[in-house]
Subunit: 375 residues, 4 copies
């Protein structure tokens, strides 16, 4: 592993740290033809605290992403900033010939995601949206099983994503509460994930009908005696119809007291079913209608066998992995795609399709009726 590949990261908050950890660890678990080097980091706010960036040993710091994307010694740009900057940074990076991995949701709306996609393709770079849950081993196993026909024809894809950090009315107003700055709230943050998993596991969505809710319409602005208006959704639910005929139901909320990061999938098919819960992400529930009739039941598969996706890189059976490992899988696969000049998924096209669906839900919520997702 003499060869190196140089990484530049933008965004030094929570997601920046999760990605950094993955860049730091990935070569210890994936067989790669080059070693990723933590070359340069920057944040939108040049004064931003980035103790973790120093700690992990990023070699240099830039004060603007515009400078970062132009650096000749950088091969990959990793975008971990708020949604409204994804498009400009990724387009600039692509135009400078950098490979790009970008946090989700892809951007603010489908116009932006389309331009991201088109520019990336034109530049011939590798591009990826960091929908990391595709690379939870249990989800990757579910995908394999669905591809093998284990579920037969899919009737239902029901997904919830529950968190509870906004239940507290004292939680302050932040930019995320402003629809103008954030695009949306729970919808873009959480439904973006479950919509990606829906497309991954079941296929394209044809039409949707949704509802957005704000439960606490004003919150205190920190360091002030004023309140800010909450315009980004606290919760968004929607019904969906998949192209192949399945029925979809999605709920995303930050008002589910007691649920911390609870993402549940239920996929019901003509031959069997699969359910999954992110808080127990090392497990997959599988029901087969082909088991002996008196012995049918949902199996709790502990997805830690070396024969399961990604698990040959980790520990013996029953020794579970955590949330952060999904980023190592994602970044490992991204590096392999670059090395082998292969297509990686989910890419910017997936990000764009995802955004078209999210946009359609928001339109349907406004119009109080079903909306067809554009082709």
């Amino acid at each position: 592993m003499e060869k190196k590949i140089n990484i530049g990261i933008v965004g030094a908050q929570f997601m920046g740290r999760a990605h950094t950890n993955a860049w730091y660890d990935v070569a210890n678990f994936f067989d790669l033809p080059f070693k990723p080097v933590l070359k340069a980091a920057c944040d939108l706010d040049p004064r931003a605290e980035s103790s973790f960036a120093r700690r992990y040993g990023w070699e240099s710091f830039e004060t603007s992403w515009e400078d970062l994307v132009k650096r000749e010694d950088i091969d990959i740009i990793d975008i971990c900033t708020p949604n409204n900057t994804h498009m400009p940074i990724s387009v600039a990076a692509a135009r400078n010939g950098k490979h790009v991995i970008c946090e989700k949701p892809a951007a603010m709306d489908a116009r932006e995601t389309l331009s991201m996609y088109e520019e990336a393709e034109k530049a011939g770079i590798k591009h990826m949206i960091a929908f990391n849950y595709r690379r939870v081993p249990a989800i990757a196993l579910a995908k394999e099983m669905i591809m093998e026909g284990k579920l037969g024809k899919i009737f239902h894809f029901n997904a919830v994503y529950y968190q509870d950090w906004l239940v507290d009315p004292e939680f302050p107003w932040v930019w995320r509460h402003d629809a103008g700055l954030a695009g949306s709230g729970a919808h873009g943050d959480m439904n973006a994930h479950t919509v990606d998993l829906a497309r991954f596991l079941v296929g394209e969505i044809d039409s949707v009908c949704g509802e957005e809710r704000v439960f606490i319409p004003e919150r205190k602005i920190p360091g002030s005696d004023k309140t800010g208006k909450v315009t980004a959704d606290d919760a968004t639910s929607f019904l969906a119809r998949f192209r192949e005929g399945a029925s979809g139901n999605f709920i995303a909320t930050r008002f589910a007291s007691g649920k911390k990061n609870f993402l549940r999938l239920e996929v019901f098919g003509s031959k069997g079913s699969i359910t999954f819960n992110l808080e127990r992400m090392n497990e997959l529930e599988y029901y087969s209608r082909e088991d002996t009739s008196t012995e049918q039941g949902f199996r709790n598969i502990i997805v830690t066998e070396s024969s399961h996706p990604y698990l040959n890189k980790w520990w013996p059976p029953g020794h579970i992995i955590g949330w952060e490992h999904t980023f190592i899988h994602e970044i490992g696969d991204f590096l392999l795609a670059i090395a082998n000049d292969e297509k990686i998924s989910p890419d910017f096209f997936d990000g764009h399709r995802n955004q078209l669906i999210l946009d359609a839900v928001m339109k349907s919520a406004k119009d109080k009726q079903w909306v067809t997702v554009p082709e």
Copy 2:
């Protein structure tokens, strides 16, 4: 318990048997001022097999419900027939001064349920819709806790009702598949239950938007080489908005492979949350935001203590009860309401409100847009 009260039942199929079992057992568990007597049974089909009716010792058999409701020795009419007969039987029974307990859904549409309610009130009888799940002890406990404010303001009421008996394409065409005869399929059968629980636990629903699905559009007609058209829904999902502001999400399907009678409630509030699953009906999950912060978690309450609703009638802690017991609770409470001349719930008004919501969902599914539930 010298006094007697005489029961006449219409409908000698599955639900007739469950009700009969409750009439047979109830006086052993409830302190009642009179003993119910299994006086007379009949079925819509005079030739119907009713081995269980003989076995349980119904004293006499009528060949028509019209005769039954006129018998002077009958005090209570119990209606366990298909939906399209609920209205005429209950109206006739009321006009003859009988108390009436009627299976759900209340009737075919809100016009029918309204007349049922008005006639019953005019006759001054006691009337009940057999939404038995209100009397699952865990649900009754949830109601108590919500009334005491344990959940605070409710944000979400999410309910699913999953069964899988129609997944098999060889399952034959029966009258239940005809929307004209059955009113609806999964919707009237299953959403009727969860809508009742929603009204019971959270309150009235203001508006809805739903989708109906038929996954297998034709099925073989038994004893024939023809197929019948399936017009009643295999699955119906809908979004809802409650009057008090909560957001609702309902799914009913008979196409959830592996789920036999899986009714899950998730109620999220500002102070806590409750979840419930009918397949583990002796348990209630409760999360309190007021527990010590490092020790918060969903509690698995085994609802078998003598201090829990209805449990003082049964066995020691940890000795679970089954599905049929909910009918004993329902019929016991109905008899007590008659004895004490008190209001019973859910009554025909609840059945009517329930039907208004079901009808609104069906209209919204047709119109592809939100519909306001009539006042």
Copy 3:
């Protein structure tokens, strides 16, 4: 069902009520050639409250069991009294030619159980010990699966039976705390059940080594300012070796805070495993080493299909039954064994073998070493 069979019951407390309920209901669910008649009841204490006996309609009341067992109109004696009376009542009943069903544990020690067995055999009557958990459908299914070789060779049988009703130090002294009167405490009450299930599912036990514990050595005597000494065990654990080579581990305790009636079995074999929990008695967990390797996992079988043991008598799939139903199964099978003059199990021989094991554990606890169970 013109023919009748007449029942006499001794013991009008908790277990008497559970048995009465089963006699009252059984003919509604089992196809029997005669109808059980609740002929006569008595209690050891002639003044005993027996409101439930009147309520269920026992036709007559005796003041002594000695009189009851001699009555010519009685066919079956059902013994629901404390352990120290099981032997004399059952022997007297047998000598009078009555069939006998007797609560567990069979008696006070193996000398007693042997005489019960020998007298019953000499009299040629049907005899049964009411180890009702054999007839939990999930346990009966486990038995079928083990008989079919689904688990292969058994390595481990681990059983716990946890309750918590003695944790409260204010719980008063009662006769059950006196080893002289009760024989033992948790051991005879709870290990008796799990030992029966061990013999049922895995086979005879060869040797044991146990420990008895009393955690609260004195308790207040009600209506007095004195305390009574607790000599019956609060908890008993033991290791066991089965004849066929499996290793056993048993724990019974009334000091497991939060566990109400928690009986867990774990049976590990060379081809698969089974686990069971009485608080979720409608479920059986099954793991097969023969499932496809990447899809192995414990299956949660909802044991409510009509193809499952006993379930064709009850309700549709997913509609669970409760604890009391096990008595209906037991009494139904007992009546069928009488009708068909067939062997019933568990009989007094099983009760005797069970007692030999319980006695060996108590001896090992006293001697602090392993004890071989007599042949």
Copy 4:
């Protein structure tokens, strides 16, 4: 973090890799006054494959541990070799003034562990046994709660450790099957962990009575047509009595089909209870007898809050960590203890006490009677 601390590791197999990963990552998550440097690695077999050691960047390789422990540039020796080498390596390391962290079980018997402890104390070094499960956050939380008196007086500590990798009779004979080389099998490997947790959570054990089992007495020697004799236990169970009066029950087996790395604790006390399962190591079940009586139940605490032990170093609530993180916690705390010259636990004294208990169990299994653990 200019200062460095140099690590030398012995043992380049599975545990060596888990420790290496922790040394590699620890400074990114713990605030340390020095940065650990992966200075030198060696294996017992100088030809051993150690691809991971190269991959993680160990700076140099030694061919003998005797050389390694003498190197002046090494501050800490990390011992990840088989049990029979723990004593000589750790003693040599201590005599050379190195701090030592050593895998469990501490050594082959209590004579060895005593000398390890005495030599380490004499040398004044920091010493630790790598019982990593003390630093599962849920276990650390349990410890805090027990210390605060949340469970009251402890009645029961029941622990099982189930794996299934030896069920396959084709699994070959390896040195671990030889009691002479390995000391013991499941006992030293798995009961060592649960005994450590017992001492950590409940206190010292006074006496024990156990049973060892070998289920498959011969296995094929790889690359040969001979079989080797299995003398190390496949499973060991034992009863225990704690000094403070609690009753203990331990089962360790590698023959529990379907259980991969299933370590379950159940701790029952006078005020409450705690249960834990390593396969869901981010969760802790807690029951409080002080909750409102109708609302008591086991709480499922998702141990991922920043207020929970170690979690402020990781990710937001609900984002779970994995098995490997326990090593990071352990090594982080070890480095802090060195930095602050504080006592670390579990140290070699804990390893010695642990071994005394393991030895007593083995003696009791041989003598078929209870054995008192030496003071």
